[in-house]
C-alpha cells in the first residue's frame, strides 16, 4: 500500500484500524528520532533503540490524545524529549560528551546564521562546533539542536519543550550568545 501521499495526521486517523498506517509512521520517524535522541543524550545504540520502542508504544497508546492543533512531528518529538529526560532522571545523570554528526546542511545553516567565515576548513569547523556545543548549558544546547539540527521553527520548538514562544525566542537568543562567546574563546573567526 502506498502511503506516500498521506500526511502524518491522516496516518494517525487510519492507524486505529490499519496496522500498516502505524508502521508507516514508525518508518517516517525512526531515523529522525534516533538521530535526535543521539544528539541530546549520547546514549548507546541499544539504549536509543529501547527509548525509541518506548516512544512508539506511547504514541500508539495515546493516539486518541493527539491534539490536532499540533503538528504530529511536534507531538512525537515532545514524547521523545520527555522520554529522554525520564531516562536521564532514572539514571540520575546527563551526558557530558556528544557524538554530533554535523552534515553539510547543518554546517551551512550554522555558518550563515552565525556569519562564520566561508573559507574556514569544514573539517576543523565541524570539530570546533562539536567542542562549542559540548561546552554549552544543556537548556541552550537543546534548543540549538532543535533549531539547527532538526530544523524546527519557533512554534514547533515551543510545542516540543512546552514553553511559550517568547521564552523559546529568549532561549535561542541566549543560546546564540553563549555559542558566540565560546566560539570567540576557541578563537574561531566570525
Amino acid at each position: 500500500m502506498d502511503f506516500s501521499y498521506k500526511t502524518d495526521e491522516e496516518l494517525v486517523i487510519s492507524a486505529f484500524s490499519n496496522e500498516d498506517s502505524f508502521s508507516e509512521l514508525i518508518n517516517r520517524y525512526e531515523k529522525k528520532l534516533f538521530n535526535y535522541i543521539k544528539r541530546i543524550s549520547n546514549l548507546s545504540k541499544e539504549d536509543i533503540e529501547d527509548i525509541l520502542q518506548e516512544v512508539f508504544i506511547k504514541v500508539y497508546r495515546n493516539l486518541n490524545g493527539f491534539d490536532a492543533d499540533l503538528k504530529f512531528s511536534s507531538w512525537i518529538y515532545r514524547i521523545t524529549h520527555n522520554e529522554v529526560i525520564t531516562n536521564f532522571r532514572k539514571f540520575n545523570s546527563r551526558p557530558k560528551f556528544f557524538d554530533l554528526n554535523i552534515n553539510d546542511d547543518i554546517l551551512e545553516s550554522i555558518k550563515s546564521d552565525f556569519n562564520i567565515e566561508k573559507d574556514l576548513d569544514s573539517y576543523i569547523l565541524r570539530e570546533k562546533l562539536k567542542e562549542v556545543l559540548q561546552k554549552m548549558d544543556v537548556k541552550y544546547r537543546e534548543v540549538l539542536i532543535l533549531k539547527f539540527f532538526e530544523f524546527k521553527d519557533y512554534n514547533e520548538i515551543s510545542d516540543i519543550i512546552k514553553k511559550p514562544i517568547g521564552t523559546v525566542g529568549t532561549l535561542i537568543n541566549r543560546a546564540k550568545k553563549q555559542f558566540r562567546d565560546i566560539l570567540i574563546k576557541l578563537d574561531i573567526k566570525i
Binding site: 508502521s23 534516533f34 533503540e49 508504544i57 500508539y60 495515546n62 486518541n64 514562544i165 521564552t167
Partner: protein, 256 residues
Amino acid sequence: MTNIINIVLEKIKEKNIKPRPRWIFVFYNIFLWVLVPIFIIFGALSFSFIIHMFISSDFDLRDRVSGNLFEFVFKTMPYFWIIILIIFLFILYFDFKNTKKSYKFNFLKVSLFGLSLIILIGIMFYFSGVARYFDNNFLKVNSYKALSCQNLKMWNNPEKGILVGKFINISENSGSFKDIYEKNWNILFNNDAELESLNLDNNIKVVGRKIDDNNFYAEHIREMRCGCGMKNCDCVNSERNFIDKRSNGCGIKILN
C-alpha cells in the same frame, strides 16, 4: 539498525496494548480546567480569612502587647490560613501546568493574573461577610480553634492595661471577670453602653488600667474573635445559662 517496526508491533500484540479511549483524554482535560476556578475560589476564601484575622487583631493595641510593629505582626500572623493559601496556590499551579495549552501562556503574566484574581475575590469575600461567617462556624470545631487561636494568652497583660477572659456577672457600673489564667477581677466602668453590642459569652478583651491586684478600670470592652464563635452564640457548651436580655440569652447574669 534493528527492525524497530517489527519489534514495536510485536510488543503491541504481545502485551495487547490498545489506544486509550478518547473520553479519558477529554475528561482529564476538562477536569483540570474545572479545578482552576475551584482553586481560585478556595485561594480567595483563604485570603479573605487572612484579611479577616489581620483586621480582627486590634492593631491599635499593639503597643500594649509587644515592643514593635514587626514583633506584633509576627505574633498575630494568621499562619494557619497563610499555609492553607500557599497549599492552594501550589495545587493551582500544578493543576494549570498540566492543562493542555498552559505552556503557551507567559508564566509571570498568568501568575500575576491568578494572584490578582484571588486577592480581588478575597477582598469581596471579606467585605460581603463570607470570611466572618465561615470563620465563626469553623470556630465551633475545637481543632480549628486550637490551630487558629494560638495568640490568646499574649493579650492578657494587666500591667499594660489589657485583660482577656469572660464576665461572670455584671451590675450597673462593674462586673466580675475571670481572666484566662482563672484570676478573678472586679471590672469598673462608667457606662455599659459598649456591652450592649457584645456577646458576653465570648472571650472579652477589656482595655483600660489596673487599679490594684483585684480591681481594673475598663476604658473599652471588646469581643475577641476566638470566643465561643458566633455573634448569636447558641451557648450549647456554655457553663452558664442564665436568661439575659442583653446578650441574646447567652449567659451573663445581671445583678441589679
